[in-house]
Structures are given as C-alpha cells and as structure tokens.
Assembly symmetry: C2
Homo-oligomer: 378 residues x 2
Amino acid sequence: MAAASLTGARMIVAEPQLLDTPSLVVDEALLRRNIAAMQALAREAGVNLRPHMKTHKTPEIARLQIEAGAVGITCAKVGEAEVMVDEGGVEDVLLAYPTIGEPKIRRLLALMERAKITVALDSREAAAALSDAMVAEARGLDIYVEVNTGQNRAGAIAGDEAMALALDLARLPGLRLTGIMTHEGQANTAPPETIEAIALDAGQTLVATAERIRAHGIALDHVSVGSTPASRYTPGVAGITEMRPGTYVFNDTTAFRYGHNGPDACAARFVVTVISRPAPDRAVIDAGSKTLALDKSHGHPGHGYIVGHPAAEIVRLSEEHGVVNLPPEDQAAFQVGDTFEVIPNHVCPALNLMDELLIVRDGQIVDTWRIAARGKVR
Amino acid sequence: MAAASLTGARMIVAEPQLLDTPSLVVDEALLRRNIAAMQALAREAGVNLRPHMKTHKTPEIARLQIEAGAVGITCAKVGEAEVMVDEGGVEDVLLAYPTIGEPKIRRLLALMERAKITVALDSREAAAALSDAMVAEARGLDIYVEVNTGQNRAGAIAGDEAMALALDLARLPGLRLTGIMTHEGQANTAPPETIEAIALDAGQTLVATAERIRAHGIALDHVSVGSTPASRYTPGVAGITEMRPGTYVFNDTTAFRYGHNGPDACAARFVVTVISRPAPDRAVIDAGSKTLALDKSHGHPGHGYIVGHPAAEIVRLSEEHGVVNLPPEDQAAFQVGDTFEVIPNHVCPALNLMDELLIVRDGQIVDTWRIAARGKVR
C-alpha cells in the first residue's frame, strides 16, 4: 500500500480515551464486509468456503461466517472444535490437524455425537490409533490426508508418497478417506510478485495427487487448500473444491504486503495508551508482546501499525511495553495518556492473548464477545 | 552450561504419555528450591525481596514466595494486583508500571481499600492525574519514581532528570514519594561476561540518584532493582534496599546462558507430543508459538530445549506446529505419539498462554493450579 493510505487511515472508535486499555476492538461493518468479500471469492472460484477459526476463536463470528454461506469451520485442536460446536452452533468441522493420544481421541468420540467431524492426518501411526478407536466403538470417521505441496512443515510429500499413504489409510476399518488437503503457506512468505505462481503450482500439485489417488478407485470428494494471501489464486485451480482461509475476517499489517487490503480493511485493532514519554523521540505504549505478540510482519516495519502514524515505528516490545520511535512530526501527538489504535502484525496470536473483543458500530462500543476458544491448545 | 548437562537432564513427569498435551507442568520441589535460593540471595545481600509475579501469575505461588520471606509482590497492571490481593492474600503490592487513565485509577482506589499499594511512574502527567484522584477522595498513595539506568525503555534518566522529576512529584498533594526503582534489563542481553559490571554500574547509578534526592530532605525508604540474571550483583550494591526478580521461580533456557542454572533448575516444562514425522530429519510437535511463544533465547538455539535431546533443535514455530530438526542420533527416538518435555526460551510469555499448570510431586501430577492472572493486560 502507498504511504498515503497509511497516513489517511482512520480510527474506528470515536472516543478511545474512555476505554480501559489495552483493549481489542472490532468494527462490525468491516468484519461483515470482509466475510462477504471472501464468500464472493469462493463463489467465483466455485469452491466451498470452510474458514479457519484460528483468527477469531469466537463463536459469534463463526455464526456470521456460516450465515454468509460457509459450509463449515476449520479448527486445529479438539478443544477449539468443542467450543465452535457447543457455543457457535457449528455442525460441520474439519480438524486440520492430527488428533493423537488417548485423551484427545476420547474427546473426539464424544464430539462426533454432536457434529460432523473430519480429521486430517499424515501418518500411518495416527490413522491406526483412530481406526482402532472407531472399530472399538463401532463408529466411522471421515479423514483427509494432509499433503505437503512445498511448505515443508507437516504433510506427506505430494505425488508417490501421498498416494501410498492415502491407499494405506483407505484400507483401515472405521476410517473413510474423503479428501486431501494442503496448507500452501509457502506462498505467504515469498516475494509478493511470486505469490500467484507459487499458489497455482501448489493447487495444481494437489489436484494431480488427487487424480492419482482416484485412479485407484477412491472417490475423493474434497480437495482442499488454505491461506488468506493465496485465496485469490489457489481456489481457482480446476479440481480444487474447498478453501480454508482464516486471517481475512480481520486482516492485519501482513495484508498490506499484497496491495489488496490496507488499514481500512483491518477490522480488529488494539486501543492503546501512551504511558511514558522518556525522550523526545521515544514514547512507550501499554501494549507489549503480551498484547501484540512478537510475530514479524511481511507488510510493515516494526511490531504493528499505529493508525494514521505510519512513520511512528514500534521498534521494540517487552511484555508490557511497546517502545515507539517518533519522527519529529509525530512528537507532539504522543503525550502521556493519549490513546491510539494499533493494527497488529499477525492478528491470530495477538487475539489469542485476549479474553474478549469489543464490537464497534459507528464508532460506539455496542457489544462484548468472549473469545471462547482462546488458549485451547489441546 | 556444558552440553553434557543438557544431555543428562531428566524429565520431571513419570508418565507423560498419559497427559493430554501440550500441558504445562511444574515440579513442586524445584519450585520451592528456586524460591528458597532467591530468598537466601536477598538475605545475604541484606535487601527485601519483592518478586515480580509476571513469571507465574498464580496466587498459590505468590503465597509460597510470601511464606518464604518476600515482603510483598511486584505487578505491572492493576488487574494482576487485583488477583494477587483477592486470590493470593497478598497484602503489599508494588505496581512497577504507571497507572494511567480514569478506569484504571478507579480500580486502583478500590484496590487500596484491600491492600497496601505503591505505584511507580516516570511522568508529571501520570503523577498529576493520580494526585487529583487522591485529593478528591481524601486518600494518600505511595509512589516510586522509575529511573532509567541504561535500559532505555521507560524511566527518567538517572541523575539530574530523575532528581528534578522526584522533587516535582514530592510536592504533589495526595502522593508520598517513598522510593525509586530501576529495571536493569540491559544486563540481561549483554555478553554474559559483562553482566556483573553492567549490573553493578546500574545499582551504583541508582543509589547515587537516591542520595541526590535525599539531599533535598526527602526520606527515600526504598531503592529498588529488578532482574533475575542480575540478581547476584545489583542487590549487593550498598544502598540498594529491594530486589524484584521474576523468572527465578521457574527458570528457562535463557538462564542456561549464565552458568548458574541448567535444565535441572527449570521447574516449568511443557509436555508435548510428536504429531508428524514428515521426513527422516524432521519431527513436528504439538507446541507452536501458541504454546512456547516466539521469544528468542540468549542461552540455547531454537525455540526451546527438548529435555535430554540438546541437538534436536526446534527450528521453526507456527501457531500449532513446532518443527524439530533431528540429528541422526535422535531420529529413532521421535516417533508419532511420543511425548517429551520442552523448557521454553522465556517462560513468562509462554505461561501467559496457558490457563492452568499441573503440579508434579515425585513424578506424579498431584494438583492443578489456575494461572488466575493470565492475560490481565489492564
């Protein structure tokens, strides 16, 4: 984004000085606009939208996504799915993460009584344990195979390895192989001009792997990709059936990198207060790593963007202190007690640090939503 | 620490495979030993110990610190102090952070009914607002002036500037200037061989500033320093009266740097499970940045130390994935479903991501303590 739009960006809260800070605020109109825009992208690409709830962790927002047309929700951990089903009324969940270990499998079985659950995994060991549990309970579980299309985190390598794994898993009793998935996260950190090519390559690689599995008589219904930055590209590949972006509901400074979404598309901000002015060129805000998280941005320097003050760089975070370098033109505007909005670098882990978010309509706080799946690491 | 001690380190949980993971476990005996050791350091230095609760955020642990001889507790935010007073029975709190803004000052006034509170600050603006509030309520508040002895985060610069601020604040009605404090955090990131000199210099600088303020007839009772790595040095400076270390209750991989505390002094660990083995030299554990936090260590490579496996480096974290590079000798030991203990790089923000900790006695889980002040950013 050009510096001009960073300079002209507006705060969403009319009277931030009345808030106890730091507080997480979400503009309802921007949130709904972001949800509608991604649903439109899915519709244009002709794929199902199954948003990852890691960004919002909030039952009310899952409801908005479903109402807008999402076919279900993506979670990582069983504890997140429990919240989305029990508090968000979600009826269809993909756990895009292996469910491993006796305590979790017990919880998974209980959750399957209340919603349709699919589990993605990438190992024979994880599949065998799930198969044993399903057989013992006379149940059936839908599974996806996770495929590595270049991120090199988890997943069976696309091609021979993924096909061999899929064929083995399809033979296990109690499991039904219904899809394959990838997270094309390698697109997100590559140079912006390369994202389209990387995303398309990941999508094509995944579809080719699906075709090879289908050649063995397995009817894979779902070929699933995920990532907000790649969401304009990968889902459009012929043969992709499902997309799982997360960050788009709020956006963050990392989105600035791609030119589609600037600050005025960022629905979630932290209202912060200047608590110290120890030097003419230094202010300290009451949001440190315990509020903004330490994630670097690929779209903006420092540890977040102070709305309307692009040159005031948050250069250092300790747990409760955000140290801001002030250029001469900003030095008068940052006095002790002044309040600002900060857009975080990576909104998902920052939101995970908070217990609730304040809903803003036309500048006023109109509601408080509990981030009910915050901290559900299990 | 020599690699030998990292190799020989032992796990604290006897049957980690029975736990739902990731879980935070704390060895009770190690915790008590660490608390006693720091109390002994304070006694030898002849200073009061007022531990910072940012590391544990847990009322039960504050009680252990007070029972061992701590004169009170240090907090940053009012919300933390509310928990420590109401749930931990703490009667004397230093808020080592400016209390700014009408909502917080109202909560501070309420809290002052239930405990002795002192507030540290570094600006005339923050002091004026507190003075006005105290006068309006016919109350009196003890304050410290925060002094910058080289960390260059917050604080009035030691010497002329800090003295001028102290004299101004001492004249404000409703406030009683009873002390000055510094956080000599610059010692923690400097080369280990320089820590003693940097810590001593910070302590001497603070004492010299105290003497200059006293020369104006102000009886400063408290000259307060804080930092676990510097705790063997700064409190010993003649004229220092109080120390505020935090991390020592648990220790973390950053402590390895200083040679006093290795893994066997680390009371808090995360029990984690291998959830993927996508390549011979790669394992993925179920603890990412949502569990271990992103903080770098100054004492160990990667994103944490896997107990007993010093060469298995956690090279990359995403929110739910910890990617581990496995050297040949570790490749057989990391199978899908296997459990390990991980000591985090910086235990304070990692603990802040969890809701509870499991207390371990002789290898068995004997209790669950709620991290009641987790997420209290206000």
